[in-house]
Amino acid sequence: MSALTPLCLALQDAAADGVSFDDPKLPTLIAVALFGGLMFLYQFLAKRGTEISIRRIAGLDALDEAIGRSTEMGRPVLYVPGIDEIKEIQTIYSMMILRHVARKTAEYGTALIVPVKDSIVMAFAEEAVKQGCLDAGRPDAYVPDNVRYLSNEQFAYCAGVAGIMSREKPAANIMLGMFFAESLILAETGFSTGAIQVAGTAKQHQLPFFVAACDYTIMGEEYFAVTAYLTREPNLLATIRAADWTKIIMIAYLVAAVTYWPELKDLLS
């Protein structure tokens, strides 16, 4: 459990200082450790050459198609990274995906517009697009003005994005990140401009609107599998594999607790 070494050391140092382990959090620690352990195991196996396959995710296959279509039509691609701050892991993750999308658009020579709602996210988005262009070997493809800060106010931002959709008519709208009530307005406006829409979020409340009004929806956990799917990097696939096994172990625990050992429930608190 090399993942936990720093923690254990910190615990030892702290013990003298009146620090004690917070007992109710033991199940959480076990969950983190279990997942971390599985992740290292599969990363080790992947390094040794074990192949890990990943199932098809239709929305992600559509990503290439959407960018390709934009290229044919000579229209830009719109990437909306959600509206949350960098506090939210989905936003950080969206920046990772943005880098891949930027790379693809740079390869195809298509314009990529990224409206952002927060100044720190803007900084991250600029880096991601710049780096994506570098990855594609086309640093000249980076257009600084295409990463645009619109407003920190939710609906002002939303109106701004809707404006871009109807004026600059992107052929593909890619919406990946943390969304709130504006999801509906974005999806409906995008639908009416006739763009291919690929949306994804792990926020369950907004999924209905995306499923109903977008062509492809990446939902829930699929969102966190995007980079692994797009790159097929063994290291990332190993993480997905670990998550799969964690899920299976969890289901087994759940079934066992419900059918034979009710005591298992009390172990969780």
């Binding site: 959090k25 199940p27 959480t28 969950a31 983190v32 890990i52 396959s53 990943i54 199932r55 995710i57 960098i86 506090k87 939210e88 892991i89 950080i92 720190i120 900084a123 991250f124 600029e126 600084p144 407003s151 920190n152 106010e153 609906f155 002002a156 109106a159 404006g163 109807s166 009416s192 369950q204 409340h205 999924l207 209905p208 499923v211 109903a212 939902m219 829930g220 699929e222 599998a225 692994a228 799917y229 696939l237 997905i240 594999r241 998550a243 799969d244 899920k247 299976i248 969890m250 289901i251 625990y253 759940l254 079934v255 607790a257 419900v258 009710p262 298992l264 429930k265 969780l268 608190s269």
Partner: protein
């Protein structure tokens, strides 16, 4: 909006201490109706409201951040530490530290903050990456641990309901039967939906079928959530109507002697801010429409 006991007392025309006053009534009515005018088309009233909104919204958040993050977390914190005599304790997260340590730490934070601002002048500088890196580390760790606790462990625990006791048979009979049956359906739905999110296993007939059941569960879930959202959206719209209707109360009417009952109160209702503002907006829209629909395209 802060609801008002509208009918009870005539408000002052201008009153800094109350929730609402005469001027406020006109402002609220104007901003509310101006935003709705956008549904017809983009127009000068909406643009005014929109730009006021962006300005006020930005200022509102900036003030909150300023008060909390700059005045509170830097200025007052350091001031408090400075005023703590050396040797006395200064608390940080319930832990006593030397005041000097607290001052130094906050100064480092302030410097890192300034490094972030370096982006304004040096877009490619390495300096801004340090505070960005710290933020990513802190929030990734915070979310990861907090959510694993509340949304993983406790959710799994929450899925373990006690089986209603049965006299005979697995599921029992009558009320108990339905209780147990719904729990079985819940469990099957949950497990199938979870297995739908399994990515690295070969999809044979079994896993494919399970996944299909999972998708059905998920879609019904999304549908239910969608149904509920509608309720909330209309509640908001009705609340705005209530708010406007409140301003037709005699207290806000332009007719000064409006508190008498009967027919005059009907008239006074019409000479109140919402109706007058609505009239002006409609008139304005009609006039600009007559003078050419230059800016009507953006409304769709």
């Amino acid at each position: 909006m802060i609801p008002l006991a509208l009918q009870q007392a005539a408000p002052e025309f201008f009153d800094l201490s109350s929730n609402m006053d005469g001027v406020g009534a006109w402002m609220v009515c104007f901003f509310t109706l101006a935003v709705y005018s956008f549904l017809y088309r983009d127009n000068a009233f909406y643009k005014t409201a929109e730009h006021v909104f962006v300005g006020a919204g930005t200022a509102f958040f900036a003030l909150q951040y300023y008060e909390e993050g700059i005045k509170g977390a830097i200025w007052e914190h350091i001031e408090r530490a400075v005023n703590t005599a050396p040797g006395e304790i200064f608390e940080l997260g319930g832990y006593a530290v030397d005041p000097t340590v607290a001052i130094v730490l906050r100064c480092i934070a302030a410097v890192l903050g300034l490094m972030l601002l370096s982006r304004l002048f040096l877009p490619n500088s390495w300096m801004a990456r340090w505070p960005l890196a710290i933020m990513v580390g802190v929030y990734a760790a915070l979310k990861m641990t907090g959510e694993t606790q509340s949304k993983l462990v406790l959710q799994v625990k929450g899925a373990m309901k006690p089986w209603a006791t049965t006299d005979g048979g697995l599921l029992g009979s009558g009320e108990v039967f339905y209780q147990n049956l719904s729990y079985v359906i819940l469990l099957v739905g949950l497990i199938c939906a979870l297995l739908h999110f399994v990515f690295t296993f070969q999809r044979g007939k079994t896993l494919g079928g399970i996944s299909r059941v999972g998708v059905v569960t998920l879609m019904i879930t999304f549908g239910s959530m969608f149904g509920f959202t509608v309720l909330g959206r209309y509640a908001l719209l009705i609340e705005r109507l209530d708010n406007l209707a409140g301003f037709t109360a005699p207290a806000y009417s332009l007719l000064a002697s409006a508190d008498s009952a009967g027919a005059s109160s009907r008239v006074s209702q019409l000479i109140s801010p919402p109706w007058i503002v609505a009239g002006i907006l409609v008139l304005g829209l009609l006039i600009t429409r007559a003078s050419g629909e230059s800016d009507s395209a953006s409304a769709s």
